[in-house]
Symmetry: D2
């Protein structure tokens, strides 16, 4: 049996990445592609790398007949997403890739995003989409909220450590380096090639990046007490990839064991041998996440590092993994593509 | 049924690319991986992007038991390849990715490569591996010689034009731009990141690049008379991709028609609408080749442009496509991966 | 004595490059910087790499008092430039970096730029700014029109050959590869890092690029008969640099001699030894242009290659070289900065 | 008066960078260039970007007559440098760019570099070359030891804070991102373009990088007690640039004040306004260092960030700045080149 899906926001990078992954997925068929600003165009005109595929033309969201659609991916900008989803059929399975349903508390949402939520009822219903930690809830959910790509990376390295009680919860520093595609296809001067290439910098310094809302929510819930990490993202001149370097207090041995135990049997999370550090180039284009642990020269301090592809495991790959669960398909279907190196 | 294959030269980029592609191929299993210089190591140690795969460790070529191996890929340096293949079982199906069996005439081989061929008998047996033009011979072959990546690109744009008689055979100029991975993983000063990044240049200028041997052989055979193109490759600061810009004499309409007719029904060759120019970014990581045609402002002159990924369609993807034919598998098996963009 | 200059359009890349070069120029002082869209800001806020300099704040063009200004650089978009310059004092020396005064014939201007010229009288007065070939006229000029960056590159390789009569005027092909900064700081989807990085393509294929207007004008005037070259620019993922590969008919020896003779004693044009090919990385950030000659394997055909930095020799460096002449300063003042490699 | 200098190790990146800077230095003339492995070649053949300069050919070190040489730059690999310098005239002024004379304690040297020092007497004589903090000693020195490029970056941000007592000495984390040229021109697989481009990773994780020897020595001496920072370098796909992100405990206001006070009047160190973060692209190719301070959301925690160009301020620019002092030339001579952006 083949499930029919729709993608709203198909003219952005996460939309295109969904199409790329689904192109070789044996159980899913793309029935509709929406992109209001480019409605009427062929997908191959907007994204020529997809021109070999037999895809429906882009339409407006309003033109889609959701009858017969088994699941809908929303790859829309945040704020738009909540408004659109509020208007979709109530029985339609939805995987949202925006930030709109990640924070359970409407006050948290408003604090980090600056506006009151337009669909607080739905926010309540949404399941947080970090597959490995919410697998059963996701399988049973109607609406799944894809995580932030940085938030996913940080959680893959830290959740098992918080859960196992092997690190000091008050001394967690995350220095994160992300590629350019995480910023999307929007027209901003600081995203031009001539501005970015051959240079790098920190941004949202000092605890102002919105993905901190997810860290605070998830880590505090997991610890049963408030946890606030320090978090500084940096923009690196590469298209894909997130590398998160975590500075924690705890014994490297216990930390490595906690990670190995947590991810034993997980198809997409690879815990490297003690002392090895991962690289973004080794996960590029794939749904894999590599995690490494190295003890510091100062006793009781450990460096934990995670690498993933922001567009795949950090966004569209995660979304497809969740969709597989929601459709009762094997979780890894269509996602075992090996990384592209060099 | 699953076929067992071996890869000799698995520690180079084309070897790793074969593993990447075969990782999701349903009918082929990797039974042996050889790399003399790195024998004893795990493949995941040499190429960490493949660490999630359950692969045999690297061995020396001599350690492989070829009994039960259905097909062997040779991704060895040229010259080494002919010596190794001369020693392999005579009934073993082989896809060679080196330059050793591309030129049929031993004198041509010696002219371009500077040494007498060590296995002229095998050279005679080998079938030239440009799938779309040697499909039947490849399906029946024991030994297939993978083409040069530049040679493949130039032939995809020019063969149909020569065959259809729509261009002047004496006035063909190929200005080619290739990515860095085409030079392989060898340690050369001019391949260092600091040397290459942010700069570009022509090399092998004036008709000295070895892939000209293939152009001369194939185009002359096709035309039934000597054809010598002008060919200048340029090294571009990108990892994957070949873009060939061809300057030819002929009417753009006839040229476009000849290409469209030649590739009608071909799964991997996309002829763009008249006036469109292809880009390497739209074929990256895939087995697709995009070809475009644009008339020049001066009547009777036309620009033809082709783009492909040197490691995939230009090398390892082509090799797998040929292996599929040789094993009577559907030709596209494992090769429909969509390009990775951005 | 120190001359006072103004820069109009100081918030673009060529404006910033002028400031970079003038920063260590001993005879010129920046008295005013205009950028209407960013008026009121400090230059160091718009271009933090210039923050160590003591510069006037950005103002609107209307706010500048041109009394006491010895020379004005106009780094404005084309069309805007002609309107602004029409309103400047008639005795103000001007170096224009836009396309507005490059084409002497108003009909040519309209053909290539699509609008009637707003200041045809000034167009008549303007001297074409290719320093090495218009040196005396530039020194005496009030208004100098900076050349297109691609147009400069092509002319450096071809003018001496046309002048010496050593090539076939009807068989000139220019395959040009340019870096990203040539497109300026404008917000276009195809200039985003995620779109450009790791990919390359041809654009304005078939003879539609506006710099062809300059080639046609200059080469025809030089030859005393119409000359139309074939010209295809390609966009390369690097910030600075133009590499032009020319395919011509003529003997390499005569061609090399003509270039060597033409540039003997020229401070910025380096003719490489016969057989050497230049690279953009070896002129980056400098006012130098490297030119190489290689004979093809086919007798009577030669490849000529030129490399320069589009922002320096192709634009702002050229402008400063011309300004030096107009102000009777030594021509190389402030311009002997060595290229930045790696 | 013009001073004559020699450069030993002129075929590496720091040697070439010295030549680039000295090319426009009015008081220094290059009298000799040595590179044993490339002796006999023209500098313009080894580094074509320098071909416009009138430079002496490369010779072996033994061929140089040091009579009449006022100062010698040693840009040799560590270990080689100490052996060579031991054999140079005892009255020759030397600026060493290697690691050989940075650590005052021979035991420290042996601990970090793995071999006993071959010239411990000279080690004693050497002055640490961090100009802004050892200015008087450098001016009076015969032998100056250039700092590590990472070590310079970290010290520019931290020394004023340690000296002013405004941060907790036991809680300093330095997460550093460096460009590729810092690794030099050596042939290593992991420095190939195809390996590095589009990916990034941490290396020397856990406190094993040799520049920690400098941090330990300098910070402990400054504090009057042992100080051990945590330090993780990352390799970024860009050629030039170091960005160091420091996580410290202390009030942002006091930290910003300490930095502003320390660098008031310094020609090359720019302290950004509170809350601004520097970028490597804004110091590229220059001798400037930008330092920024941002308070964290958690009280008492502050992020300090510094950016410089590893080949200029981190190495060859620093060396020239020190040479100016040693030769009683104005310290900034030849070093006010503005950064190259884009």
């Amino acid at each position: 049996m083949t499930y029919k899906i729709a993608i709203l926001g198909a003219s952005g990078y996460t939309g295109a990445e969904l199409v790329r992954l689904i192109a070789t997925h044996p159980g899913i068929e793309i029935a509709a592609l929406a992109a209001n600003s480019k409605a009427g165009q062929a997908m191959g005109a907007v994204f020529p790398h997809l021109r070999h595929l037999d895809l429906p033309d882009l339409v407006t969201i309003g033109e889609i007949d959701f009858t017969g659609i088994d699941l809908c991916f929303c790859a829309l900008p945040h704020k738009t997403s909540q408004e659109v989803i509020a208007g979709l059929p109530r029985d339609l399975r939805i995987v949202d890739l925006s930030a709109d349903f990640r924070l359970r508390d409407p006050a948290d949402y408003e604090k980090w995003y600056g506006n009151a939520h337009a669909a607080p009822g739905l926010q309540n219903e949404a399941v947080y989409g970090l597959t490995e930690f919410y697998r059963d809830e996701i399988a049973a959910a109607r609406l799944v909220a894809g995580t932030g790509c940085n938030a996913a990376t940080g959680q893959y390295m830290l959740r098992p450590l918080i859960a196992a009680g092997v690190i000091d919860l008050d001394e967690i520093i995350l220095d994160l380096k992300c590629g350019v595609s995480g910023a999307g296809r929007s027209l901003k001067e600081n995203l031009l090639h001539a501005e970015l290439s051959e240079g790098y910098h920190a941004y949202a310094v000092g605890g102002t990046h919105r993905h901190l809302g997810e860290f605070d929510q998830e880590f505090s819930a997991l610890a049963g007490r408030p946890v606030q990490v320090q978090f500084t993202p940096h923009l690196i001149p590469a298209n894909r990839g997130i590398l998160a370097t975590g500075y924690v207090r705890g014994e490297a041995g216990a930390i490595h064991e906690a990670l190995a135990a947590a991810y034993d049997g997980e198809p997409f999370i690879e815990v490297l041998p003690m002392g090895d550090a991962p690289s973004t180039r080794h996960v590029r284009g794939s749904n894999f996440c590599h995690v490494g642990v190295v003890p510091d020269r100062r006793a009781g301090r450990t460096i934990v590092i995670a690498a993933l592809d922001n567009l795949t495991k950090g966004s569209s790959g995660q979304a497809l993994q969740n969709a597989n669960l929601m459709l009762s398909l094997p979780e890894t279907t269509g996602l075992m593509l090996a990384p592209v190196f060099p």
